[in-house]
């Protein structure tokens, strides 16, 4: 298999973060995590172009998910972004406006997220498989 796909997962709930980490790790991804938008931005700016996909929560302290997405889309336009929200429509709508590739509403099935991520990162492969 080629290099594993690299994910950055951001959520201010550490339990969710741990669950995501375990899951994606077991699915063969290389995973880094961050507890809020600011921490994530620092990781991204240190290792620009390292990641294939960003999975982020929206409502977080300091830099919100919406803020993170806006900054990332400007600085690293090639990075795919999955936004997740559990706070009704407002943040989700703002995330779409900030051009997240996809917005998912919690609770979300982990396998569904994995499917989405894999389609985003390797659209061609999926077409062949299907």
């Amino acid at each position: 298999m080629a290099d594993p796909s690299r994910l950055l997962i951001v959520d201010d709930n550490e339990d969710i973060l741990a669950t995501f980490y375990e899951f994606f790790n077991s699915m063969g991804y290389e995973v880094k995590t961050a507890v809020d938008g600011f921490a994530a931005l620092k990781v991204l700016r240190e290792r620009s172009n390292h990641f294939d996909c960003l999975i982020t929560d929206l409502v977080m302290p300091n830099i919100s998910g919406v803020g993170l997405i806006s900054i990332v889309k400007k600085e690293y336009p090639q990075l795919k972004i999955v936004a997740m929200t559990g706070y009704g429509d407002q943040p989700g709508a703002l995330a779409s406006e900030a051009q997240a590739d996809i917005v998912l509403f919690k609770p979300i099935d982990l396998f569904k997220i994995e499917n989405t991520v894999s389609e985003l990162i390797n659209p061609d492969n999926d077409k062949q498989e299907n």
């Binding site: 600011f38 620092k42 700016r45 302290p61 300091n62 919406v66 803020g67 407002q90 703002l94």
Partner: protein, 356 residues
């Protein structure tokens, strides 16, 4: 010159780092924290470090103006838009174009204006009162509040959609009592600053005993109170006196203010003294030295009632403000009036913090 953000605590260092990372993004910022913690200082720092620093930094206080006035201040108006609009006037949105618009006390913005604000933030367009045209605007909006906006949303006094649109980047400044390590550098900074303003003062920095006491003090009015306290020292030239004059009932209490507390032992008017001498009491409101004809012309119970109640209100408001270190929202809570009423009364009775 704007005040720099001073502090060595973890939270202040993190805020400085955050400012450094986001100053160029021009994403909406919401700054929260108690009165006097330095919300405007943070807004100024964001502006100074951004690529908009050569343009305007325009500030507007959303709690200080009545709704209609706030609206025309923000968006401007055309000549003849309303009675008294003799000529066209530019609004803050226009003045702040390509620069920063700092919306202070955003939590006090009336609902109707919140929806208009939301529209401007969404579309980037606004139209002055009485105008048929929409104008494109490019302002960086930084808002600040000492309210808990999440709670205001639950109480339906703040729009949820506006909250999320402003809350793209959130900077919360903790109260001074939660970052005591900042007290020393703050004293250092303001001592130097005021020393240059009061060169005649030969005062020294606080000795270790007073210093320890100052660090232990809970500072309900936060940095602004500390700043005023140092300024006072320049005049009084005695740290002991300055420390003793700080309101001290909080020292034993938890940081939270007891809102049901009645200022019983120190009533501004001493009742029996007035009751013992009715003439002296009346003379405070009516000029008794004039002839009786003129006197009876002047006396109106309604007028006197208003004067007397104004006076006692002024005394009580000043008294409570003094006790809470000029923290207006806390004083409003104690007096069970709205924050807006508090600001209004302060203007009406001409009440100001001792040194500003």
């Amino acid at each position: 010159m704007s005040t720099p953000l001073i502090g060595v605590s973890k939270s202040i260092l993190k805020i400085k780092e955050l400012i450094n990372h986001v100053a160029d993004t021009c994403l909406n910022v919401l700054i929260t924290g108690e009165t006097g913690v330095g919300k405007e200082v943070v807004a100024q720092s964001l502006y100074t470090e951004s690529n908009r620093s050569t343009k305007n930094f325009v500030k507007i206080n959303c709690a200080a103006l009545p709704e209609t006035l706030l609206e025309s201040e923000l968006y401007g108006y055309e000549k003849g838009a309303f009675t008294g609009a003799h000529k066209k006037r530019m609004g803050k949105f226009k003045t702040a174009d390509h620069g920063v618009l700092f919306l202070d006390e955003i939590g006090d913005m009336p609902m109707a204006l919140q929806s208009k604000m939301l529209h401007v933030l969404q579309s980037g367009e606004f139209s002055p009162l009485g105008s048929d045209h929409d104008f494109k605007t490019d302002v960086w909006v930084i808002a600040a509040t000492n309210h808990d906006l999440e709670e205001s949303m639950h109480n339906k006094t703040f729009r949820e959609d506006l909250f999320y649109r402003l809350n793209i980047i959130k900077i919360n400044i903790p109260p001074l009592r939660e970052r005591k390590e900042d007290i020393a550098p703050l004293i250092e900074y303001y001592f130097k600053l005021y020393k240059s303003e009061y060169p005649a003062n030969h005062g020294t920095k606080p000795d270790s005993n007073i210093f320890a006491k100052l660090c232990d003090y809970p500072w309900p009015g936060n940095v602004r109170q500390l700043q005023n306290c140092i300024k006072k020292q320049m005049v009084l030239n005695s740290w002991t006196k300055v420390y003793d004059e700080l309101p001290h009932e909080y020292l034993e209490d938890s940081p939270d203010i007891q809102t049901d507390e009645q200022p019983s032992e120190t009533q501004p008017f001493s009742n029996h003294e007035l009751a013992n001498n009715p003439a002296s009491m009346i003379s405070q409101f009516v000029d008794l030295s004039t002839s009786s004809d003129k006197l009876f012309e002047d006396i109106s119970l309604k007028k006197i009632k208003k004067m007397a109640s104004d006076r006692i209100e002024k005394e009580v408001i000043s008294f409570v403000l003094e006790k809470v270190g000029w923290n207006r929202s806390k004083a409003a809570k104690i007096l069970k009036i709205s924050y807006k009423t508090m600001l209004y009364k302060m203007t009406e009775f001409d009440i100001h913090p001792p040194v500003k």
